[in-house]
């Protein structure tokens, strides 16, 4: 069965410092993985996705994630946090191979706070 585990429910960083949001996945086949972000009073927005092409995936707003099969991880990083990055981030796996269905399995979310 497919699942994702977000290791931190809350992360706090200072503006200008790196961001690391951790995600581990479990999948019986090569997964399709996503990071979604939800800013306050906004809908969920796709940050980036991995679908078995390059293992280092670049997304919007300077975020990127690296798919590491040996570690079953898909951590989200950004070199320098901005105040506008404060939001809740969700690691997501698609239920079927190749992302053929949009029945998504969400992690519990990581709330990112950015301190001035």
């Amino acid at each position: 069965a497919q699942s994702v585990t977000q290791l931190d429910s809350h992360v706090s960083v200072s503006e200008g410092t790196p961001v690391l949001l951790r995600c581990n996945y479990s999948s019986s086949y090569s997964p399709s993985l996503f990071w979604y972000v939800q800013h306050p009073n906004k809908g969920l927005q796709l940050l980036l996705k991995y679908t078995s092409a390059a293992t280092l995936v670049k997304g919007i707003n300077g975020f990127e994630a690296e798919f590491k099969k040996s570690e079953t991880s898909f951590h989200l990083t950004k070199p320098s946090a901005h105040m506008s990055d404060a939001a809740e981030y969700f690691c997501v796996v698609s239920l079927l191979p190749g992302g053929a269905t949009n029945k998504l399995i969400f992690g519990t979310g990581t709330l990112l706070a950015v301190q001035p």
């Binding site: 809908g43 969920l44 996705k49 698609s94 992302g99 949009n102 029945k103 969400f106 992690g107 519990t108």
Partner: protein, 116 residues
């Protein structure tokens, strides 16, 4: 292009009452999904429409929930009678049918339901 819109943004009702949530997907998107986030838990899949047909309703919690998508445009999700455990945020998402499937869903801002 208008995004996915949901109404109401927040609804407060008494246990036993009925509530109807509405979702207008992005124009031209055949796929429409309902997801739900109960307080403190992960976002979970409820059901998937392709046009007006229910493709997958395996996530619907019980028969108090009824989803419709007459004419394949907007969708409604009715909860009747509402129970305390139905409180949460109900997200609607849509996606086009295209090849290859990018796996991206376009989410609305959610409808927050509070059952007292």
């Amino acid at each position: 292009e208008a995004g996915v819109t949901q109404f109401p943004s927040h609804s407060v009702i008494e246990k036993g009452q009925t509530v109807t949530l509405r979702c207008d997907p992005i124009s031209g998107h055949d796929n429409l999904y309902w997801y739900r986030r109960v307080m403190g838990k992960e976002i979970k899949f409820l059901l998937h429409f392709v046009k007006e047909s229910k493709q997958d309703e395996s996530g619907m919690p019980n028969n108090r929930f009824l989803a419709e998508r007459t004419g394949g445009t907007y969708s409604t999700l009715k909860v009747q009678p509402a129970e305390l455990e139905d409180s949460g945020v109900y997200f609607c998402a849509s996606s086009p049918t295209r090849t290859p499937n990018t796996g991206e869903l376009f989410f609305g801002e959610g409808s927050r339901l509070t059952v007292l």
